[in-house]
Symmetry: C2
Subunit: 211 residues, 2 copies
DNA sequence: CTACGATAGATAGCAGAGCTATCCATGACA
DNA sequence: TGTCATGGATAGCTCTGCTATCTATCGTAG
């Protein structure tokens, strides 16, 4: 299809599509002569991906670039690629950051024994815990245990349902699942707060806990 | 304390503190004469709150303003205030947005029966589900059921542990808990993926699912 | 009592992200 | 043969979140 049709089908403005092409987020179309390129379904899908990562996952375009780079290239080292992609997801962590992460370590112990103490997610957890603590919302061991139990159960479902088969496809699934299911879970939790608060009774503090 | 001490204790640059004062995010100090104001512990806490909401929860300053406004004013209608505050949390939803939210409704049914179909969280869930779907990661009813179960369990813990007592304090707790525990849960989920993937065995697809 | 350094308040500038708009030359197509 | 979409380049624009500078004032040490 021509660029005008791509624009029409995705709803992304022409100037923006050109910008994404310039930035290398969207691969160039198949050139037909010097003044015409044709685009395919993969361009439609890529645009949807860019918008989803940007709008829903809140990724800056630099992060989108990292993620699509991992998805595009037939990665020689899948584990390393995956690490890079997930590290590009928000919240941002300084590259030279490293442990120890005391708060995170305590919580991680509740989750499992096979956690790399230097992974980006540890730094993210440490920051999140420190921020909560700094405003008087420190997480009790009991709460950590509760969250750990349920988060682990969801992760078990996730891992069991990663499509087996081609490695590239699995990686894409894991990266996008991490990025795009997080907002889903967050929204579901807000709804659950509503529901639980209303179920618990109509008056007092609990009724105020509606979203 | 003087402004210089406030700067020193929080690590926030002087120019930035002045900016927050200008923007009304930080209440003015107690004026002592025309050229000196004194600040207290509440200013230290407020600065920590602003930075936590901005850096960890990813709130734009306009959203921080909304949240602190709700926390500050002794709200006449707690439920309404709470709704405004939680609606200010990312991801952003257009003010005039309204249902129906078909994808979200299907998932919400798994969570509970007491959900307001017009709440902001429904719109957020709808967008998140649509985004996931648009890149081929639509959520199966089975997955929705799994997530709903565990999210609800966490929400039950949360609601049961909201401090009872003064309403203002409860509201603050709920708003900040919503905003600041989401990143905690997200990071924990990433760690759980790591752990489950490694526990499941060393080779093949599952080993690639490390973060 | 005086000089110095901190302060309040105002204003201007700046950097990065993410577009958006314009221009031009070309070439497809009617 | 004329018109219009296209590719390619470049410039500019808006918003957010600071940062820097200037000035007048004031508390306080010497």
């Amino acid at each position: 299809m021509r660029i005008s049709e791509l624009v029409e089908r995705t709803g992304v403005p022409l100037a923006t599509v050109k910008y994404y092409l310039r930035e290398g987020l969207l691969p160039p179309g198949r050139a037909v002569g010097a003044k015409l390129s044709l685009y395919g379904e993969e361009h439609v899908r890529r645009l949807a991906l860019i918008r989803a990562l940007r709008d829903t996952a809140g990724l800056p375009l630099a992060g989108v670039r990292t993620v699509v780079a991992v998805i595009d290239e037939p990665s020689p080292d899948p584990v390393a690629s995956l690490g890079r992609a997930v590290a590009a997801l928000p919240p941002a962590i300084a590259e030279d950051r490293h442990g120890p992460y005391p708060r995170a370590a305590a919580v991680a112990r509740e989750i499992g024994e096979h956690i790399d103490p230097e992974s980006t997610a540890m730094a993210q957890l440490e920051d999140a815990l420190a921020a909560a603590e700094s405003v008087g919302l420190g997480i009790s061991p009991e709460r950590a245990r509760c969250y750990a139990e349920h988060v682990r159960a969801m992760a078990e479902y996730d891992v069991a349902h990663v499509p087996s088969g081609e490695a590239a496809r699995s990686i894409e699934h894991v990266v996008l699942g991490t990025a795009l299911y997080e907002p889903v879970i967050a929204a579901m939790r807000r709804l659950a707060h509503q529901d639980v608060a209303r179920s618990a009774g109509a008056g007092g503090v609990r009724a105020e806990a509606e979203d």
